[in-house]
Symmetry: C2
Subunit: 420 residues, 2 copies
């Protein structure tokens, strides 16, 4: 018998208790041992009376109890969760967590102390999709060339509605909030921060690279408007918030931003609240993983799969490396990233506009791939929509700063990166 | 150091040697130990001189050598491979195989003798896609409600061409043969047998159910014609060869056949030579796995991932069950399967045709969902295309036998199952 203490009884924690009870028989036959949710820790005990589990409002009732073999940490946040998990590991308990923020900041420290007793975190990235295992075990023969993930269901729901139904950003945000897909303060999701935490976890497994959210390029979807949607449809693109990790030689790019991707790509077909991760390995080519990235039951499915793996006695190295590689890989500075760009600007309709803008692009050696001009009926303004060939991020930024200063340019020009 | 003997040096075997050499450093850091392809066994040694590995034409040079820790079996076929793998396991060596036929017939016997020393077979299903691990580990918390797999790249390539480009079955078969996607004798692929082997492996992990290819419904794609393609497009379907495992109560359906599936479903978007597997679990909902299902490098990626897992000391139960479940699940007889059907028949154009056919459907309690009549310009014949509501396979078959006997019905009526 394996006794589990669950710290945090929100939607995921409650689902963990439910799965362990409802699927008890098949879980026992798969794990080889009975798995018992012995105690649940929550702030408000009244709320959880129906869960049929011993309740406590003190995490130490789990951590100090030597009969508890495993701690499931589901309180979220960084520092308190870190203290709890460290204490559990030091007491010799195994740990399962769904906490992406904890791992975004402390995965390497945790790897040091986790060692052999088992540390599962499948639920921290892409909910129910077994992407951690796939990357760490299924693709372990490969140098990972790239990872492109749709890792935030809120953003994907909103962008899908905007592109398929022409709904505006503010309308769809309101709708997502009403449906419970977006928080009252949606910044963490729509600003790309949630996806960046998950990206850092995947990048550690792929590349053994240490970085914090502060170190990488993170842009949200707030600035996407109907002109962008128009351009995307016109040129056969979809718009997705992508979390991207890419290796080129001994450099690794890590970035989160909205991206234009060709509609025919498999990852472009991941719509609505669903998550999807495309991984390209040097021998396997592209593989893609799709499923529910959030929700109590899907996330709890991943938590319980980790519990079962630990019960089975599996001992995969936490971040996939048995021996730390003397890591010659380093992070590319955001300004040095090279990609294709889509650029949007709003101008007053007057003679010579296009030639002045073009000459600035030429000065920065930026070569234009396609161009669309779209006049707005009432405002007397015109939207100019460009896409470029590959160029350096810094050059684009400098060119756009210069263009912004032209007297006929209204608002700040904006850009979306294009991913092949 | 872990020394490996590779028996079979075809495209996959050669790729295994190549990966172990080219990705040696990252593999060592992931596995925690150096992995050395020590000896390769092939019939024609001359062909493999460029591989930079000790060669032999005698499998016993691997099996009898106590310094070899692991055997990679890549000769294919059932009985000789079974003897080799048994001998290796009995000698205490771990085994990795890509051999779906071996597992379709002997997986339970192999599980008995494999026990603790490690037995990997990720490469036996869907090439480079880590579907074995995902099902056995990533989704282990779930009762598996259904598996729907596009597990044969040849069929998927052909069906994609037929539906997207209107190419006929015989033309696309010829083209697939020229491109090396289809064998000279393509029966094993296009008849659904290859997919059935893979399905049985997945079904063992999902349900612990024992069955052989002979026990299940297997239909190929040979009968699909341009009328079927026309109907599919008209009603928003795609046609895929699906390998299906489904649980309903204590009954399990296992079947391989072409199926009409709505274009919006994620699995319907898996095109060309690619494979895809959709798995629905009771808590996780739908997850889908996509990638290259064949080819030397992709398959070898899976083989090497198994080698690394065994080197890491993982000990997941081979078919996912630590304790055999006293399995109350049993196979549904093919005739008792219930689904929706699409039916095609060719008739001479005369009065009363439709009413006579309709009355037979009514006799068998088969209710029609949609109907299309399509006249052929020259032949004087008309194609009648129906789709039905859910009904039992036996009733459809009996009704079609009766319809076939009507004097105005030309050729044997045919049907394709519809999957929601």
């Amino acid at each position: 018998m394996l006794k589990i203490g669950i710290i945090g009884l929100g939607t995921v924690g409650s689902s963990v208790v439910k799965i362990l009870k409802e699927n008890k028989d098949i879980i026992r036959s798969r794990a080889g041992v009975e798995i018992v949710p012995a105690i649940g820790v929550a702030r408000n005990l009244q709320k959880h009376q129906d869960l049929d589990i011993v309740l406590s409002d003190n995490a130490d009732d789990v951590l100090e109890d030597d009969s508890i073999d495993m701690v499931v940490e589901l309180i979220g946040g960084v520092e308190r969760a870190y203290e709890i998990v460290k204490k559990a590991l030091k007491k010799g308990k195994s740990v399962v967590t769904a906490n992406k923020a904890l791992l975004a900041y402390h995965r390497y420290e945790l790897q040091e102390i986790a060692n052999s007793q088992g540390f599962g975190f499948e639920a921290s990235v892409a909910g129910g999709i077994p992407i951690i295992r796939s990357l760490r075990e299924g693709l372990s023969a490969n140098q990972i060339i790239s990872i492109k993930g749709i890792l935030n269901g809120t953003c994907n729901y909103m962008l899908t509605k905007m592109i398929n139904e022409g709904v505006s950003f503010s309308e769809v945000l309101k709708e997502a909030q009403e449906l419970g897909y977006a928080e009252v303060d949606p910044t963490f999701d729509i600003g790309g921060f949630d996806a960046s935490h998950k990206l850092l976890i995947l990048a550690s497994i792929a590349y053994g690279i240490d970085a914090k959210p502060e170190d990488i390029l993170i842009e949200g979807i707030e600035a996407i408007n109907s002109d962008d949607i128009f351009f995307a449809k016109e040129f056969g693109y979809n718009i997705k918030l992508l979390a991207i990790a890419k290796k080129d030689g001994n450099k690794v790019e890590l970035r989160v931003h909205p991206a234009l991707i060709k509609k025919e790509q498999m990852i472009a077909k991941v719509d609505g609240v669903m998550n999807g991760v495309s991984v390209v390995g040097d021998f396997v080519g592209e593989t893609l993983y799709y499923g529910a990235g959030a929700g109590g039951d899907a996330t709890a499915s991943a938590v319980v799969s980790d519990i079962i793996s630990i019960a089975r006695g599996e001992s995969t190295p936490m971040l996939g490396f048995k021996k730390l590689i003397t890591n010659e890989l380093s992070l590319v500075e955001a300004d040095l990233i090279e990609t294709e760009y889509y650029i949007r600007m709003s101008v007053e309709d007057e003679v010579g506009v296009l030639s002045k803008i073009s000459s600035i692009f030429t000065d920065y050696n930026i070569s234009i791939d396609s161009f669309l001009q779209k006049s707005s009926k009432n405002s007397g303004r015109t939207s100019l929509l460009f896409s470029t060939h590959k160029c350096q991020e810094r050059k684009i930024k400098e060119a756009l700063e210069k263009i912004e200063k032209l007297h006929f340019v209204k608002d700040k020009p904006s850009m979306i990166r294009i991913e092949d």
